[in-house]
């Protein structure tokens, strides 16, 4: 692990039990996240993309330890602390680290408590820090408010008085107030209109340049991810199927799933047709068995080997990793 990595995730896994209703009994489990490895360099943005159910949110929440990982290590090397494994820490040991890792949520409506003033919402992450003076809390709140481009008068108002874009700014200010090194943004712009989305994307980029924050950016929109991220990992059913620096990922994807995602994304150009790929819904049985490539049933390049042997993530060209048995020449944008 190099010095420049802020976060190093190794072999992270999480399973959820299927059908554990009161009467149905347990029926095996589904691996929502399956042996995932990745590193995030300090001051950079790492993007996780994938369909719903691919495990991207679960990964984000495990990094925050909101969800307990089953296996694996989440090594966090803060600027002024030793490397710690977030996955092994006890809840009491995590608390002092909370202000270093913060989160921006998707829904700017449900993520702000309607009974709290903006100042209280933004200042909340500071509460568990011991020995912080009240005047400093106030200063930090004002500073965070200015950073995200909100006016100081807004601090005494309640969330209902704000539009979606302004609420998202409040959510970002709350994430910044404790001076975090890592911000996990889970679909932070998906609920916003395009014009507001562009404002928030610009803000996130600007804040990174100013404060050197590292982002773990989780999204499904490939255009948004291309704009904001430096390195991207594509998730499919809990596994990273492709990871690389963004330019090569879009120009020459190496995994058929990445190709299909790029082809399916609608572009604002009439005449450019999007391709849709056959989609089969995996049954519970398929979800719980793990032999073969997870993408087998949907892949248009599949061969015999794919059904019985699971490909491992390997470096196909320098810097570009894909979990595919073949060196395919696929179509990018």
């Amino acid at each position: 692990m190099t010095e420049s990595n802020l976060l190093n995730v190794r072999g992270l896994s999480k399973s959820y039990a299927l059908n554990t209703g009161l009467w149905s009994g347990a029926e095996g489990s589904v691996r929502a996240v399956d042996r995932v490895n990745f590193c995030i360099e300090r001051g950079r943005t790492f993007g996780l993309v994938g369909e719903s159910g691919s495990g991207k949110t679960t990964i984000g929440r495990m990094v925050l330890r909101v969800i307990e990982p089953d296996e694996g290590a989440i090594l966090f090397s803060g600027a002024d602390s030793e490397t710690v494994d977030l996955a092994r820490l006890k809840p009491s040991q995590i608390r002092p680290l909370r202000h270093k890792i913060q989160m921006v949520f998707q829904d700017p409506y449900s993520s702000l408590d309607p009974r709290m003033t903006v100042a209280r919402i933004i200042g909340e992450p500071l509460a568990p820090i011991h020995g912080i003076a009240r005047s400093e809390i106030q200063d930090r709140i004002v500073e965070a408010t200015q950073l995200v481009g909100l006016r100081r008068e807004y601090l005494d108002r309640y969330p209902h008085a704000f539009s979606g874009g302004q609420r998202q700014r409040i959510g970002i200010a709350r994430a910044l107030v404790s001076g975090p090194e890592l911000v996990v943004a889970d679909e932070a712009v998906s609920a916003l209109d395009v014009s507001v989305q562009a404002q928030i994307l610009n803000l996130l980029r600007e804040l990174q340049q100013k404060l050197g924050i590292t982002y773990l950016f989780i999204a499904h929109d490939l255009g948004v991810v291309r704009y904001l991220c430096d390195t991207i990992a594509v998730l499919y059913r809990g596994r990273i199927v492709e990871a690389s620096e963004k330019r090569v990922l879009y120009q020459s994807p190496k995994h058929p799933y990445t190709e299909s995602l790029i082809a399916a994304a609608p572009r604002p150009e009439p005449g450019v047709t999007t391709a849709s790929y056959p989609q089969t819904i995996p049954t519970n049985e398929q979800l719980t068995t793990s032999a073969g490539c997870p993408y087998y049933s949907r892949c248009s390049y599949r061969q015999e080997i794919c059904e019985c042997q699971e490909p491992t993530l390997r470096e196909i060209v320098p810097g570009q990793f894909a979990a595919c048995h073949f060196d395919l020449n696929l179509k990018g944008v």
């Binding site: 369909e51 562009a198 610009n202 604002p268 009439p270």
Partner: protein, 329 residues
């Protein structure tokens, strides 16, 4: 020769709120041409959903204050939907049989307590069609539903989002409507599922000869599916043209800003995105003059903030509501 199947003239829809009445659709004029797909784009709060709901008269708690919504079954035979009571039998004959609708969230548009097959059959039975099991399975098969016999016996919660949206389309098309209103039908879906649903809607539009009013905030989706596009801002249409003309040469500054603010999948962008300042103003206080002027980068002081712009018609059939284009059509 224009042949509209739905013609909306000067429509105003008002909602009563605690802060007073608010006009969400405000003097909107729009025509849906027969056999075409009209895309409607706009930010949240621009009134696009409310406008579309007026076609089925399910705009409540909103109220049509003025204007006309006419449905032309044939060019000669116009039906004034705005005059109908929202519960009368006349509008019920229009709903589903003439004009059908699909919604963004297919989970909430199906009842949870009946099977998919039962709910499709119900729509068909109410309009006097054969609603036997075979007919229902045929409808599901027609929208490319995998394992249609099985799905007909399943409940909505047992299907994935994409399958539910397919079932919703099967239900909407079961009575062979002339007009399909699709309100953000793919916004809750993943891209690959979205591409399939879009393909299905285009294919059905062609094979059944329907007209489609397709509402979306996603310009990529609109570029892909629509023949014509209308851009809405604060309850009115600010620009309307063919999809090619709109994306190649957007006229209204608002349309231009919308197009520029999309982060592109096919382009590297190292600088900041071009951003439209501010957010849509509150509908309670409409700006004077052009409704867009407080955010417009090209506003003409003394003109745009005083006079509401008139519609300027161009040779290629496009229309724009902007002072910058006055006299240039």
């Amino acid at each position: 020769m224009p042949d509209p199947v739905v013609d909306i003239q000067d429509l105003t829809v008002s909602f009563k709120t605690r802060r007073g009445h608010v006009r969400v659709v405000n003097g909107l004029t729009l025509a849906l041409e027969r056999g075409r797909i009209l895309g409607v784009v706009g930010e949240s709060g621009s009134g696009k959903s409310v406008m579309s709901r007026c076609l089925l008269r399910i705009e409540a708690p909103g109220k049509i204050v003025s204007g006309r919504v006419t449905y032309f079954k044939t060019p000669e035979q116009g039906l004034h939907l705005e005059r109908m009571d929202s519960t009368c039998s006349a509008i019920r004959r229009v709903r589903w049989k003439e004009i059908a609708m699909i919604f963004q969230e297919p989970m909430s548009s199906f009842g949870p307590q009946h099977t998919i097959g039962f709910q499709i059959a119900e729509a068909m039975r109410l309009h006097g069609l054969d609603c036997g099991n075979r007919a229902v399975v045929d409808e599901l098969m027609a929208v490319g539903m995998p394992r249609p016999e099985e799905v007909a016996c399943q409940y909505p919660h047992q299907l994935s989002g994409g399958m539910r949206q397919r079932a919703m389309i099967a239900m909407a098309l079961s009575c062979r409507p002339k007009v399909l209103v699709a309100d953000e039908p793919t916004s809750a879906l993943d891209v690959s599922t979205e591409a399939q649903i879009l393909k299905l809607i285009s294919a059905k539009q062609l094979s059944l000869g329907m007209s489609v009013l397709f509402i979306s905030h996603n310009l990529g989706v609109i570029a892909h599916i629509a023949d014509d596009v209308a851009v809405m801002y604060m309850g009115e249409v600010v620009e309307r043209s063919s999809v090619k003309a709109l994306f190649d040469g957007p006229k209204h500054p608002y349309t231009r800003a919308l197009l520029q603010s999309i982060p592109r999948i096919d382009r590297e962008c190292s600088g900041p995105l071009v951003v439209l300042g501010g957010s849509p103003p509150s509908p309670f206080v409409l700006p004077s003059g052009c409704r867009f002027h407080p955010r417009c980068p090209q506003r003409i002081p003394g003109v745009c903030d005083r006079e509401p712009p008139a519609i300027e018609l161009f040779q290629d059939g496009s229309e724009v509501r902007c002072h910058l284009w006055e006299g240039r059509g």
